[in-house]
């Protein structure tokens, strides 16, 4: 490069460094390899701190739970660290803890995810443990029985705790019913109790295999050596024995129905009001994110301002989108003291009606855009976050443009496009599923006004009637 050229390069770099309004995020280029048996490997070197992060995704998840055995994928995930390869459960745990690593597996609705983070010097150990958990978990009887009983008791403990995380579980179970999306991801007390070691091993053989595995690693490591190591370790792994199940998109609820969950002694009522929403591939994702941010996705959202800031009825109110591969759910989630149950629910419904009637004005939409773009970069800041994003995109068959084009899509949204998304996605007031969790003795008669009521006790060993 001659001096003149470098001078102009310098000039351009200076201009680029000047302040610009947030414009979205561009994912870094990664190395992506597919093995013959279908394993996808994604690698990205990032050396700001001496850590290495892994995210391994097995497509499948709770939608592959056999009928009546909700929680199977979740139980298998838990069992992956209860002994694998040459290590029994205690030795496996010791190997992780001894180096200060973290490694865990969790089932989601449509995939099982192994997440780990280790000091860079322990990269070899991390890969070894990952290979063992996926290819040779022990799935022993004693460990399985212990974990299964413990998971049942975790659900009981959750029912003794803050009810806020529970209403979406009841909500999705009640809304989707027998559809695979109605499956509580971590199972329920009744379904977990039916799972045997034989079931678990059959499920592992049927739904775990190279053809549905994605491994993303990001952090402080050498990519060339890592490719070699992973290729050698995974090239010989078998494919899953059963195909991934096909299912139709769920059908939206027509009319209204109410599930009342009785928690005796509760001093607040927790409610979830929703219907069938959209899939992850919904084309107007940017507009929907703007609409949901403004309706109930941030502190200054419509729901928060009205229910909390102005009316003082609650500490929190949100609208939640669940966007899996087919249409998921869209719901309002909040809570209030028992005496103001109706007041708060009525206000929430009124705000849903207002959303449909008025949409949002230009100034508020601009604020929503700035907020989304301003809060986006910290979500992809660490190696572990990036690894998770790469794996997630791959699992849903999406590419980098899902992230890279997002900023531009947000920027081009306007009043009309946001408006059309609201009409399209948010449920009509006539068609709603309600879950109300609280002291049923005090609210039973009142909530009947929202629709036909089904009541269950919180101690019932399932999440739907």
């Amino acid at each position: 490069m001659n001096p003149l050229q470098s001078a102009w390069v310098g000039l351009c770099a200076c201009l680029a460094a000047g302040p610009a309004l947030a414009q979205g995020v561009t994912l870094p280029d990664v190395q992506r390899i597919t093995l013959d048996n279908g394993v996808v490997i994604i690698l990205y070197e990032k050396r700001d701190v001496p850590l290495i992060g892994v995210e391994a995704v097995v497509r499948g998840g709770a939608v592959t739970d056999p009928p009546g055995k909700s929680g199977m994928a979740s139980l298998l995930a838990g069992m992956l660290i209860k002994g694998a390869g040459e290590r029994d459960a205690a030795t496996f745990a010791e190997a992780i803890d001894a180096v200060g690593g973290s490694l865990s597996a969790n089932a989601g609705l449509e995939s099982t995810t192994i997440s780990g983070e280790f000091l860079a010097r322990d990269a070899d150990l991390m890969v070894e443990l990952l290979v063992d958990m996926l290819q040779s978990p022990i799935l022993g009887y004693t460990e399985m029985k212990k974990l299964r009983d413990r998971q049942v008791n975790f659900i009981r403990a959750a029912k003794d705790s803050d009810p806020r995380p529970l209403t979406p579980v009841y909500g999705n179970a009640f809304l989707f019913g027998e559809h695979p999306y109605g499956n509580p991801v971590d199972g329920d007390e009744a379904s977990l109790a039916t799972i045997s070691q034989r079931d678990l091993r059959a499920y592992y053989r049927d739904y775990f295999g190279a053809d549905r595995l994605i491994i993303a690693i990001a952090g402080d490591f050498d990519a060339t050596m890592m490719v070699e190591k992973l290729s050698t370790a995974f090239a010989g792994w078998r494919e899953a024995a059963a195909p991934l199940p096909e299912f139709e998109a769920p059908v939206p609820q027509e009319g209204r129905r109410v599930l009342l969950v009785d928690k005796p002694g509760a001093t607040q009522s927790y409610f979830w009001i929703g219907n069938v929403g959209v899939a992850i591939g919904y084309p107007q994702r940017a507009e929907l994110d703007i609409a949901n941010t403004l309706f109930g996705g941030r502190f200054t959202s419509l729901l928060m301002e009205e229910l909390r800031t102005k009316a003082g009825l609650t500490y929190g109110a949100r609208s939640i989108l669940r966007r899996p591969s087919k249409a998921g759910s869209v719901a309002i989630n909040s809570y209030t003291k028992t005496e103001t149950t109706l007041e708060a629910i009525d206000l929430a419904l009124h705000l849903l009606a207002r959303l449909h009637e008025h949409g949002f004005d230009e100034e508020v939409i601009l604020s929503g855009k700035n907020y989304i773009l301003g809060q986006f970069p910290p979500r992809l800041e660490t190696a572990a976050q990036l690894a998770a994003k790469f794996a997630d995109l791959e699992a849903y068959g999406l590419d980098a443009s899902f992230v890279n084009d997002y900023g531009a899509a947000i920027a081009t949204a306007d009043i009309e496009t946001v408006r059309s998304v609201i009409d399209n996605v948010y449920p009509d007031l006539a068609n709603l599923v309600f879950v109300i969790l609280g002291n049923a003795g005090l609210i039973r008669d009142d909530v009947a006004q929202y629709g036909p009521v089904t009541e269950i006790a919180i101690t019932e060993p399932r999440f739907r009637p």
């Binding site: 310098g10 700001d48 000091l119 200054t300 003082g312 609650t314 500490y315 800041e381 660490t382």
Partner: protein, 553 residues
């Protein structure tokens, strides 16, 4: 070709080159001062615009005029034999060379010496870290009013984090105003003398920022996460609420209900915190750490306007606060904004010191909470050290060995081997005054808390008598070291860690001593702290279980 030769003869190319190099230097210079001051956002564009317009003019000038010994003449009027264009050309070459060398030196000089910046009058430089272990680009500045600002630049993502630490929490309360620190945290979002309730959040959100706040027994922390472009907006918003807060009576009433709702969810309808609140209240007889941070319900309903105003004046003064900024900033621009927005807020009398010292516990304390529960809970608390106490680090390492991860002693014994509990965890307060080390366990339905308690005590005694193994110590050190690095992987984690050390250890630099301190802690240190703390005379035990039905078998 004749035109080309003539262009060359008249030095047009050399002038073009000189112009380019000069432009580059100007733009670089503007960029450099931009990073240290708060020039308006359009400065770059404007400078580029002027330079672009100037370029053809300069070329035209070079073509039209010629420098002669007797001054500037039109090139066309100069006799070829009299022309000194060759000499002028040589001078132009020399100028280009000198400017290039200067430019390269300046650019690389700035890169090699991160402290080299254009020093503009009036902008304080700040102090470099006192410890060599701390990253050299951290800067701190103490304003005249006692407000200290710490900046750690990190340009990985175009975002910034600001933490505002206020040295006030449950510890500064007394019966009648319990929960006021936390309530005040809510008030800080509810309007100033010039802004209506909610406007703070609306302006911040519109600029792309988000925020939250939290209150503990020791401090109240305000956190802002925002894109670089919102830096000045956030400074203005923060300065306004820290200087001009309004406490409107109607807003106070409405917010009482919000806080009560928070209390109902977090404590009243959550068995874990319902029990923890009682354990905390029982473990102390004198020190204000006994108060629940959310406050007792009757106090939430009763504190007055005067309580709020006097609290604000006493605790929210600049000399009682610390600000940490991390992310895509330079220390200079932060200090210049701090100077502009915070320097005018006056210092106040320091808050009254908390002189109550919890008297030594003379025997074990027990309590029971009856509540609907399928899974009974057991919590055990022991009086331990403060943040700066030399025993606090050994205790943290010890707690890792006892409950950190599935290979920890208590997890293995209680959960895997004996099935006595479904979860076990521990926590140690690290505050201004000596706090508690807690163990908390969830039992399976029908589990007997007395049996579990005996088993836990047996293991705690074992540590006090036999100590820990070297392998366990190494494991615990590794867990802590990995946590340390994970904490510094984000700008949010950096702000949090710097602030914690500045506030609780009085110097942020000591954060970076932690890896060495971890290595220097011995197995004997752990055994000693176990023997000192894990005594039944020093213990409070709380049990939460379903009500016992009278007359039942």
């Amino acid at each position: 070709m004749a035109l080309f030769a003539e262009l060359r003869r008249r030095n047009v190319f050399k002038v073009a080159l000189l112009y380019a190099v000069t432009s580059w230097l100007i733009i670089w210079f503007v960029g450099a001062i931009h990073a240290t001051t708060t020039l308006p956002a359009w400065t770059d564009t404007f400078v580029l615009f002027v330079l672009a317009i100037g370029f053809p003019l300069a070329l035209l000038f070079a073509w039209t005029y010629e420098i002669t010994p007797s001054g500037l003449k039109k090139a066309i009027d100069v006799e070829q034999t009299q022309s000194i264009v060759y000499k002028t050309g040589q001078k132009l070459n020399a100028a280009v060379a000198v400017l290039l060398v200067l430019g390269v030196l300046a650019v690389f000089g700035q890169r090699l010496l991160p402290t080299f910046e254009f020093i503009l009058p009036g902008i304080p430089e700040g102090d470099a870290p006192l410890s060599e272990k701390a990253p050299a680009d951290i800067r701190s500045l103490m304003l005249d009013n006692g407000l200290k600002i710490i900046v750690w630049p990190d340009h990985d993502i175009p975002n910034v984090v600001m933490y505002n630490f206020v040295r006030a929490g449950g510890r500064n309360e007394y019966p009648g105003i319990t929960g006021l620190s936390h309530f005040f945290e809510h008030m800080m979002f509810l309007g100033t003398k010039k802004r209506a309730p909610g406007e703070f959040d609306r302006i911040m959100a519109a600029a792309g920022g988000a925020n939250n706040a939290s209150t503990s027994s020791d401090v109240t922390v305000y956190k802002d996460w925002f894109p670089r472009s919102a830096l000045e907006t956030v400074f203005e918003l923060e300065a306004d609420r820290f200087e001009n807060l309004a406490t409107v009576p109607e807003t106070v009433e409405s917010e009482r209900q919000v806080v009560y709702s928070e209390r109902r969810s977090s404590i009243d309808n959550d068995n874990f915190w319902k029990l923890a609140e009682q354990v905390q209240a029982t473990a102390y007889v004198a020190h204000p750490y006994q108060f629940t941070v959310l406050g007792w319900p009757s106090d939430i309903e009763s504190w007055t306007q005067e309580d709020l105003i006097s609290y604000y004046q006493t605790y929210y003064a600049p000399n009682n606060r610390t600000i940490v900024v991390t992310g895509d900033v330079t220390s200079r621009e932060v200090f210049s904004l701090a100077d502009e927005y915070f320097a005018s807020i006056s210092a106040q009398e320091p808050p009254p010191p908390i002189h109550t010292v919890e008297p030594e516990q003379q025997g074990e304390r027990r309590l029971v909470v009856e509540a609907p529960a399928q899974t009974p809970l057991l919590q055990m608390a022991f009086h331990a050290g403060s943040a700066t106490d030399p025993e606090t680090l050994p205790m943290s390492l010890l707690l890792n060995i006892l409950t950190g991860g599935d290979s920890s002693r208590l997890h293995r014994i209680l959960i895997e081997d004996d099935g006595l509990a479904i979860s076990v965890g521990s926590f140690q307060d690290e505050g201004f005054d000596p706090g508690l080390a807690y163990f908390y366990l969830t039992l399976p339905p029908g589990g007997d808390p007395a049996v579990v308690e005996r088993r836990v005590l047996e293991e705690l005694r074992r540590v006090a008598v036999d100590g820990v193994t070297e392998a366990e110590l190494t494991k615990s050190r590794n867990i802590m070291l990995a946590d340390f690095w994970r904490g510094l992987a984000t700008i949010d984690g950096k702000a949090k860690a710097l602030g914690q050390y500045e506030v609780f250890h009085d110097n942020y630099e000591s954060l970076f001593d932690l890896p060495d301190a971890i290595e220097a802690t011995t197995a004997e240190d752990l055994q000693q702290v176990a023997a000192k703390v894990f005594r039944t005379n020093n213990m409070t035990v709380g049990v939460l279980r379903a009500p016992v039905v009278e007359g039942a078998q």
